[in-house]
Subunit: 165 residues, 8 copies
C-alpha cells in the first residue's frame, strides 16, 4: 500500500451503481492503492457531499473518482469543490445510448475540468488514478509499467500462430 492513508476516494450517486463502481475498487486493490468509497447523491445530499470532499482533501486525499448516470452532475459538482483531479465515469442507464451521462460529465465549462473515461468504464477510472498517482509515487509507476508489459506478453502468447479463426 502507498503509505498508509487514503489516496483515492470513489464517489457514486446511487446504491444501484455499486456493481459497476466496484470494478474501480478492484483495480485499486490490485495496485495496492488505498481508497475510501461514498454513495452520495449530489442532488439529494449536497451538503454531506461537500463535507466529505473537504474532509478527504484535508486528510491528504489526492485523486477522486466519481461515477454517475443520467444528468450526471456528481463529478462536475465535486470538481467545483476541490482542485484535486476528478475522474468522471459516465454510467449508462440505458437511455439515449448513454449520451446523457457522457455529455453531462465531459462537457464541463472552462476552468473546472473533469477527466472523463468511457461509458461504464470504472476500471479505466482506476487505471487513470494510478497513472496520476504514479507521477508522485515511483513504486506505483513501476507496477504500471510491469502491468502493461504483462498485457503485451499475454497477447503475444495467445496469437495461435495466426490461425485462430
Amino acid at each position: 500500500m502507498l503509505d498508509s492513508i487514503m489516496k483515492v476516494a470513489i464517489f457514486f450517486g446511487s446504491q444501484s451503481d455499486t456493481a459497476i463502481m466496484k470494478k474501480a475498487a478492484d483495480v485499486l486493490r490490485d495496485f495496492g492503492v488505498e481508497f475510501s468509497s461514498y454513495p452520495i447523491s449530489a442532488h439529494r445530499a449536497g451538503k454531506l457531499l461537500a463535507q466529505t470532499v473537504e474532509q478527504f482533501e484535508s486528510e491528504g486525499g489526492e485523486v477522486i473518482i466519481a461515477g454517475a448516470g443520467l444528468a450526471a452532475h456528481l463529478p462536475g459538482v465535486i470538481a467545483s469543490m476541490t482542485v484535486l483531479p476528478v475522474i468522471g465515469v459516465p454510467l449508462n442507464g440505458g437511455k439515449v445510448g448513454g449520451l446523457d451521462a457522457l455529455l453531462s460529465i465531459v462537457q464541463m465549462p472552462k476552468q473546472i475540468p473533469v477527466a472523463t473515461v468511457g461509458l461504464d468504464n470504472a476500471a479505466n477510472a482506476a487505471y487513470l488514478a494510478c497513472s496520476i498517482l504514479a507521477i508522485k509515487y515511483p513504486d506505483l509507476k513501476a507496477k504500471l509499467v510491469a502491468f502493461r508489459a504483462k498485457l503485451a506478453q499475454d497477447i503475444a502468447e495467445n496469437l495461435g500462430g495466426g490461425n485462430v479463426l
Copy 2:
C-alpha cells in the same frame, strides 16, 4: 406588478448567456412579474449560488429560471438546494447540436426534477413561470388567457384568404 416582491429569479451560468436570457426577462416584464437576475456559475461560485438561492426563497421568491450550456449543471444544482419549482433552459453552445445542455438538464434523477424547456427558448421558461404563478394569482391567469386569445386572433387576421404562397 404582482404585489411588490420578487416572484421569479433568473440564474445563468455565464455573462455570455445574457442576450438569450434577456428574452425571459422581457416576457416577465410584459406580464408584470417582478424578478431578479443573477449570473452565477454553479461550478465557479457554488457557495454564492447556495446563499443567493436561499435568500431568494426566504424573501418569498416562488419560481426559479436557470439557463446553462454545455454540461449544464446549474438548473439541477439549484433544484438540489430548494423545493421551489426550477425551470431549466438548455443553451446551445454549438457542440453536438445542443444535446449536451438538453440532456444535462432534463435527465435529472428521481425526486429532484427540473422543468425543462426547449433549446435557447428562454421566453418559454418565462411563459411557464407565469403559468405556474397563475395557479396562485388570478390576475396573472387572466392575462395569460387574454394573451393566448390574442395569439389566435392575430393568426386568424393574417390568413390572407388561404392565398399566401
Copy 3:
C-alpha cells in the same frame, strides 16, 4: 388531501403507458394530492381530449401531467388548450433511444411551453407538480421540505464509513 378537489390530472396516450404513469400517481398519493387520470390519445380522440381538459380546468384543476411516446404530441396539444402548467413525460418506446419522445415534447414553439422531465421519469413529473402546487399550499411545501431532508438523512445513515466497495 389538499382541500377535496382534484388538483392534478394525469393524461397518457395509450393503455400501454399505464405501468410507467402509475409511478406519478404513487408519488401524488404519498403527498396527499388528489388527482384524476385519463388515457386519451390526442390523435385518436382529439375532441374528447379538449372536453376533458376544459372540464378539469373549469372544476378547479391546477396542474396537468401528460405522458406520451414516439411523436409525443399529447403534452403539447394539451398545452395549446389551457394556460395551466403542463408537465410532459417522454416515454421511451425503444426507438432511436427515446430521442423521438423527448424532442417532440421539449422543443415546443415560443409562447406554448411544456415543462419536460426525464425519459420515463413519471415520478419526477409528480414531484414537479408538488413543487408547483407548493407555491400556493404551504402544507404541501412543508411536506416537500421534510421529504428532501429525509432523503439526505437516509444517505448520511448509509455511508458505511466510506467503506462500501
Copy 4:
C-alpha cells in the same frame, strides 16, 4: 389546372416558414395543381386549424401538405382531424440537426400516419402530392411521367463524355 377547385392545401406553423414552403407551391404551380395555403400554428390557433381543415375537406380538397419545425406537431394534429393523406415536411430550425422536427413528424402512433418527406424538402412534399393525385387524374400522371423522362434526359445530355472533373 385540375378541374377548378383546390386539390391541395399547404399548412405551415409560422410566417417564418414561408420561404421554404413556397417551394412546394412552385412545384404545384408547375404541374397545374390548384392549392390554398394557411399559416396556422397548431398550438396557438387550434380551433381555427380544425375549422380550416374541415372546410378544405368539405369543399373537395384531397391532399394536405403541412410543414413545421422544432416539436413539429402540425402535420400530426392535422392527421388526427381528417382521413385525407397528410404529407409532413420537417423544417430544420437549426437545433439538434433537425432531428426534433423529423422525429416529431415521422414517429406517429399506429392508425394515424403522416407521409413524411426529407428535412426542408417542401418540393418533395409537392411531388408526392402530385403522385398521390395522379392515381385519380390521368393527365397529371402523364405530366409526372414526362417530367421524370426529362430529368433523365437532362442528365444524359450533361455527361460531358465522362470527363467533367
Copy 5:
C-alpha cells in the same frame, strides 16, 4: 374488395422482415384492399425488382409500400422506377437506434420523394395507403371515417371515470 385487381404492392428486402411487414397486410385485408407482396432485395436482384414494379404498374397497381432496414435503399430505388406513390417503412435492425434505416428512406433527393412512416410501423404504411386510395374510392373513404370514429368511441368508453391509476 376494391374492384378485383391489386391496388397495393408490398415490397420488402429480406425474408427476415416478413413478420413486421405482415402488419401492413393485415390492415389492408381489414379494409378490403387487395394487394400482392414481394420479398425482393434491391441490391441482390435489381433487375427482378424493376420488372416486378413495371408489371405491377402496368396491371393497374396504384400504391407501393416498401420496407427495408440498415442502408434501406429499397423504397428509394422503387421510387426511382415509377411515379406511383411509394410509402417507405424503415425497419429497425437494432443498430444506431434505427437512424440508419430512417434517414436512408426519408432523406430522398428532390423530385423523387418517398412517403416515410415511423420505425417498424408497417401498419401505418397500410393506413396511409388506404388514405391515398380513398381520394379515388369513396367506399374506402367511408370505411376510414368509420374506423376513426370507432377509435375515438373506444377511448371514450374506456375512460374509467378519470380513475384508472
Copy 6:
C-alpha cells in the same frame, strides 16, 4: 499513367457535388491513375447509370468511387450492379450532421459491401482506390510508399524543436 485505359470511375449524384469530388480527381492525377467521371443520379437516371457502370467494367475499369449526400443510395446501387470494389463518399449536405449520408452508405446489407470513407473525404476515396490498384500494379505501390515516407518526413522537418505553441 497506368497502362492507358481508365482504371477508376468517379460517379456522383448531383452537379452540386462537383467541388468536393474534384479532390478525388486531383489525387488520382497526382498518382498518375487515369479516371473518368460521371454526374449521374441513381434516382433520376437509373438506366443510364446501369449502362455506364456496365460499359466501364467491360472496358477494363477496376475501381469505382461514388459520392452522394442525403439518402445517399448511389454507391450502394452501383455496388448492386457490379462486383468491382465500390468506394462510397458520404457528402454532408448539412442536415443531421451528415449522419444521413454516412449511414445510407456504410450500413449496406450482407453480400453487397461499399468501402466507405469519411464525410466529404473524397481525397481519401482516391487514396483508397490507389491502395487497391497497388495490389496489382507495383509501380503504383512504390509511389504510395514514397508518398507516405514524404508525409512523415515533412512532419519531422516541421517539429520546430518542440516549441511551436
Copy 7:
C-alpha cells in the same frame, strides 16, 4: 485457393470479438481465399502489431481486415503502418448505438483511408476483400459474379407468386 500464400489477414482487438470476426473467415473460406488471423490489441501490444503487419506485407499479403469496438483505433493504426488496403469493421459493443466504433473507424484523416463496412458486418469485409483481390485474380472475379447471379436467382425462385404475406 489463390496460389498458396496468405492473401488476407484478419486482425481484431479482443478475444471477445472472435464470434463476429469468424463470419469474415467463413466467407473467405467459401471463396477459397487463404487468410491468417491475429487477435492483437493496438493499445496493449502496439509493437507486436507493427511487427505482424510488416511481416504479413513482406510475405506477400495483399488485403487486411480489422475489426474493433468502442474507440476502435485498430484499423486506423494498421492503415498508418502499411499502404495495403485496410478494411475496418466497427463492432457494436452496445454503447451509444455503435456510433463510437463506426465514427472512430470511418472518419480517418486525409491520406490514410480505412475502407469501412457496416456495424458488426464482418461478412461484408470479406466480400469487399474478395472484390479487391478480384481485380488481380480473374478466377476470384468469376466466382463473385457467379455468387451474385445465384443470389438473384434464389430470390426469383422464392417470390411465391406475389403472395407471401
Copy 8:
C-alpha cells in the same frame, strides 16, 4: 516555473489545430508550468511519435495533453505508448457535431485510459494537467486554490445587485 524541466507535452495531429491548442499553452504559462509542443500525426508519422513520447518521458516529463479531430486516435495511441497520464482534447472538425472526435477519444478499451475533456476545450486540458501536477507540487496547488477563489470573487463582484437583465 516548476523546477526547470518540461513537465507537460502538448501533442496535436495537424497544423490546423494550432489555434485551439494554443489555449492550453496559455493556461500552462499562466501557472508557470513548462511545456513542449509537437504537431505530430499518429497516422502519418507513427514512429516519430513513439520516439518523441519516449524521449519526453525519459527526460522527466509527467503529463501529456493530446488534441485531435475526426477519428481522433492520437491521444489513445500515445496512451498505448506510456503510463504517464494522457489528457485528450476532442477537436470539433464540424462533422456529426463533434461526436466523432469525442467518442474516438473517450471510449478507450479497458486498461488504457485517456482523461478526456470537452470538445475544443484545450484550456481545460491544461487546468486538468495542473491539478494532476499539483498532487506533487504544493506551490502549484496553492496557485490553483487562489485561482479558484479569484473566479468566485469575480462573480460575486459582478452580480449587479440581482439586476442585470
